[in-house]
């Protein structure tokens, strides 16, 4: 962790040249141990409190998930799923949903506004609302359905991993508050090894399919899960098993972008050189009129 008021930037949305990248700070990560999570929503409230957000007072729609979805002012959310296995053993699988801080962030890739999304060298992906134009491409690009556009200001918002706290050497608010120690924070390296240790402990406890969720499809994440049923991630309110940036988005924001630009340029140039070589197609009498 760096001790400074601004973190070094590793990648910046809609920017084609590299950011200053000689210095590299240690990558950080948050690990969510689902086996310890009781769904108390302390993380939700702590997030609201620290980030000075307040969610609307909604309604109960028949579930414990409240608010019922992420929003511009709810950056993290407990999602509850009642799952029965084939022997009718009930599990109440509770997952803290929120930004995964992908190493290869789809939102950043899709964002057209320079600097509206940045990735710090410690791995945090942060939205800069001042630069956000409100197009929603970040939503299109995100493999986890996280960013939300505010109805109030049409800017995109999501978890910042409390970049303001991390920048001064503190853990994120949700991590600090988590009563049961289900959320931990540290260097990515430490969190991976702790996650692997927890996985082993859970496997010894009888959860043969326990595993660490650090999906390679998005280059790994800086928010990881330890899951008791890592073989069935979808049971956790639809956590994608092998998430990656959609190929459609990759094509759109990848190869197509320069090629299309090139195509347009070539077309224009072709016209230019055609004119220079072949010259105008003139009707004789009119040409004289024009020149006159």
């Amino acid at each position: 962790m760096t001790l400074q008021s601004s973190l070094d930037i590793q990648a910046r949305s809609a920017t084609t040249t590299p950011s200053p990248s000689v210095r590299s700070s240690a990558a950080v990560a948050k690990l969510i141990d689902e086996s310890k999570c009781i769904g108390c929503k302390a993380c939700q409230v702590a997030c609201q409190e620290w980030n000075e957000l307040r969610e609307e007072i909604g309604n109960n729609v028949g579930v414990y998930d409240n608010p019922s979805d992420l929003s511009a002012s709810s950056w993290t959310l407990m999602r509850f799923a009642e799952v029965e296995d084939k022997d009718n053993n009930l599990s109440w699988l509770i997952r803290k949903d929120g930004c995964m801080h992908c190493a290869d962030p789809g939102c950043l890739k899709a964002c057209p506004a320079p600097g509206a999304i940045v990735q710090y060298s410690n791995g945090i992906v942060d939205f800069k609302q001042e630069a956000c134009i409100g197009c929603g491409n970040c939503i299109t690009g995100c493999p986890f359905n996280i960013p939300r556009i505010s109805k109030k200001d049409n800017k995109a918002y999501k978890c910042t991993l409390c970049s303001d706290r991390v920048a001064v050497g503190l853990e994120p608010a949700c991590v600090k508050t988590c009563p049961t120690g289900a959320i931990t924070f540290g260097s990515k390296e430490d969190m991976v090894s702790y996650g692997e240790k927890r996985t082993k402990e859970l496997q010894e406890r009888g959860y043969a399919n326990a595993g660490l969720y650090n999906p390679a499809g998005v280059g790994g994440t800086h928010v990881m899960y330890v899951l008791r049923h890592a073989d069935k991630t979808e049971q956790y309110s639809g956590l994608p098993k092998d998430p990656s940036i959609s190929p459609l988005v990759s094509l759109w924001k990848g190869a197509f972008k320069p090629l299309a630009l090139l195509g347009m340029g070539v077309t224009a140039l072709a016209g230019f050189f055609h004119y220079m070589k072949v010259g105008p197609n003139e009707v004789e009498d009119e040409k004289s009129r024009e020149e006159a």
């Binding site: 299109t140 359905n145 197509f256 972008k257 299309a260 105008p280």
Partner: protein, 204 residues
Amino acid sequence: MSKYLQRYSDQERMNHWIVAICFILAALSGLAFFHPALFWLVNLFGGGPWARILHPFIGVAMFGFFLISMLRYWHHNKLDDNDRKWLRQWRDVANNREDMLPEVGRYNGGQKVVFWITVASTITLIVTGVIFWRPYFANLFPIELIRLASLLHAVAAFTLIVSTIVHVYAAIWVKGTLRAMTRGNVSDAWAKKHHSNWHREVTR
């Protein structure tokens, strides 16, 4: 027999230019979002958020007016064997060897192709654009469709821009053409040279 032949009415021309202006604005703002190198174009619209707000409305306006033209011209743009022959002889076209080409009616094969490309891409643009238009409509569609729409929107825009470059260049290249849209008429000689069948038709 006058020296100039009426090709487009005032109303047709105004409609064309509205579509053209909308296109320019939509293209400029769209390109700003398309490639970081062009993001500066948003300044023409009062900054990023304004460009984002205006782009879809401009697009809808463009589509609306384009629809009028399309309905008016589509039956002039049915491709026939003559057009296909014309198109096959694109080398002659490009080298101003018109005398070797088949006789052309109101529109030549190239114009017709551009017309249909424009129709296809404009419809694609409006349909896909609505699908990911935030904050109004995007929430009605599944994310995968939005992703596909985003890609198709970009592809259609690219196609439209390229075909428009061709369209504009053709107007510059073939002298006397521009007058059809600025004045509404073309010279008798121009018509005879480039659209002899049409010339025969209107001067009959």
